[in-house]
């Protein structure tokens, strides 16, 4: 479903600030894989997701989504293959537009936008049902501006928008990190439900090792722009935080350097 072949990216090349963010990423996801991605700060987790989404051109390598080579495709064209949820709840929605307008925008992802009216009555009905599955009462507030929603509500809505047309790949970039623990748990629960109901292929970046272990069927760990661990199947199911930390220090020759990951 997704194939990364030798993907490299250096930011600010040729300057003192040059930083190799991706040092040759090779990754193959199968249909229905739900991969959690962990690693310390600056390991290249978000950068990998941004490379797939096309936020900037990569220096080397190939990106293939669902059989389509998207390496040179601009961000807005790749969007038809992808669903994205960002860390910042402000980033995934248009705050000055209504809930139903945001959903209608997302429903037209990958289609040409014409001079037809932006939303139909049939869609309104459909969105109402869709929103009710979130159990946040948003189905009764469809003409409310998204800017008035809480962070958790906005992330849940972004999740719906990302999956309103079945994406080839769902990219979740620490999408619960900015939420309080209770809201984060609820959004994660919704994430799990949507992924399994639609049988989506997904990548979820997280700082939380326990979340990384309990969610998904596969786990990869990154360090210095490389994938240093890739665990799937039974081995992933039996994983513990201690075992994971142990593997990290064996592989990298140092302690896992993220307080946030250890404390959470």
């Amino acid at each position: 479903m997704l194939e990364l072949i030798g993907v490299k990216k250096t930011f600010n090349p040729g300057t003192v600030n040059a930083k190799q963010a991706l040092a040759g990423i090779d990754l193959k996801l199968n249909e229905g894989d739900f991969v959690t991605v962990i690693g310390g700060n600056g390991a290249g987790k978000s950068t990998t997701l941004n490379a797939i989404a096309g936020s900037w051109p990569i220096d080397e390598g190939k990106i293939i989504i669902g059989g389509n080579d998207v390496t040179h495709m601009p961000e807005h064209k790749r969007a038809k293959f992808l669903g994205r949820v960002f860390q910042d709840p402000m980033l995934g929605t248009a705050a000055n537009m209504e809930i139903e307008e945001n959903l209608a925008l997302a429903a037209r992802r990958g289609k040409t936008r014409s001079l037809r009216w932006r939303i139909t009555d049939a869609e309104r009905k459909e969105y109402r049902e869709l929103l009710s599955t979130l159990e946040l009462g948003l189905e009764d507030r469809m003409t409310v501006k998204v800017g008035l929603l809480s962070g958790g509500q906005r992330q849940a809505l972004t999740l719906l928008m990302a999956t309103i047309n079945r994406p080839h790949l769902l990219l979740l970039d620490e999408h619960t990190a900015a939420l309080d623990p209770k809201t984060a748990a609820k959004v994660l629960e919704t994430t799990d439900r949507i992924i399994s109901q639609m049988n989506l292929t997904a990548m979820m970046v997280t700082h939380n090792m326990r979340d990384a272990i309990t969610h998904g069927n596969r786990l990869i760990m990154m360090k210095d722009g490389k994938i240093i661990l890739d665990i799937a199947g039974e081995e992933k199911k039996n994983l513990t935080v201690e075992a994971l930390l142990d593997m990290f220090s064996k592989k990298s020759g140092e302690e896992f350097a993220s307080d946030r990951a250890l404390l959470s």
Binding site: E75, A79, A94, L105, R113, L115
Partner: protein
């Protein structure tokens, strides 16, 4: 006093003409989040094209269409500077404005072209009875609002609003944000040039200097409209009407200030200061909010 009262219909007419221009500014500044300084040039281009076309013998309707198209092309140039060449919005607008200065001089062939209603058939002129000007301009304003209300309700219009609101989200939803900027700037400057065409008829001339500070008048109209007629207007057509209302209020105040004997040389400065104050208010308010949050602690979290 009678003189003053007699001058008011003229002031309202000017307000309506500048209201169309201010709607153009509203489209870029508020909807597209693109501070577009092209308008100082494109309003003048609209006036020049209209005046020269009419003087050259073209029918008025064609002259006004040509004027509108010239504005659209100006907007296109700014949009391409920004989207294709990566020049920041404000600088893109300034560059086009400067280009238009030369272009406008070339169109006029001199600094000023008279366009007298005595010699040509014009739509809005000071020779017409006041009610006729007001009626014609009201129809123009209504048509502009109607067309924009429809357009920004469509899928494409909706994508333009999203682009101004959150470009990252728009791209993630498959919107080509560059194309949306182009459409927005073309549309905006088309309206601005149309206002220029009306203005040249109303003032009876096209002058190379007539666009100077237009952006400030446009912004003032947008801001006054929001302040006087309500910031919380939700309906799009109504918020456009507020912009026109703001522009009319601006010209009524302008006329009053002149009547009271204020030095007209100071008017541009006063407009700019007023716009600066209104632009500063939301920023200063947010700063004091943070301070009061600290002191009251807990109170401020109610809305969080």
């Amino acid at each position: 006093m009678l003189n003053y009262l007699a001058s008011l219909p003229g002031a309202i007419s000017q307000g309506l003409i500048w209201g169309i221009m201010a709607i153009g500014v509203y489209l870029t500044y508020r909807i597209l989040d693109f501070a577009d300084l092209t308008v100082d040039g494109s309003i003048c281009t609209g006036a020049c094209v209209c005046a020269m076309a009419v003087v050259g013998g073209l029918p008025l309707w064609l002259a006004m269409i040509l004027a509108t198209i010239s504005g659209m092309l100006s907007g296109l140039v700014t949009a391409l500077f920004n989207t294709v060449l990566g020049i920041p919005p404000i600088l893109s607008g300034i560059l086009t404005q400067l280009i238009l200065w030369s272009v406008n001089l070339k169109i006029l062939g001199k600094a000023n072209q008279a366009l007298s209603a005595r010699n040509y058939k014009l739509l809005v002129t000071q020779l017409n009875p006041a009610w006729q000007n007001l009626l014609v301009l009201a129809i123009f304003c209504a048509a502009v609002i109607g067309v924009l209300y429809w357009f920004f309700g469509t899928e494409t219009g909706s994508a333009i609003r999203a682009t101004g609101n959150n470009p990252a989200m728009s791209r993630a939803q498959g919107i080509n944000t560059n194309v949306m900027k182009v459409i927005g700037l073309v549309l905006s400057n088309g309206l601005v040039a149309l206002a220029g065409a009306l203005l040249s008829q109303f003032l009876g001339q096209a002058d190379i200097n007539m666009g100077k500070g237009a952006i400030v008048i446009g912004l003032a109209a947008v801001i006054i409209g929001e302040a006087v007629f309500g910031r919380r207007v939700r309906n799009f057509a109504l918020s456009l009407l507020c912009v026109i209302g703001g522009s009319v209020v601006y010209y009524l105040v302008y006329q009053t200030v002149i009547y009271l004997g204020l030095d007209t040389d100071l008017l541009k400065m006063l407009s700019a200061v007023m716009v600066a104050i209104f632009l500063a208010i939301p920023y200063l308010k947010s700063k004091t909010k943070v301070r009061s949050k600290k002191t009251t602690d807990g109170e401020g979290h109610k809305n969080a």
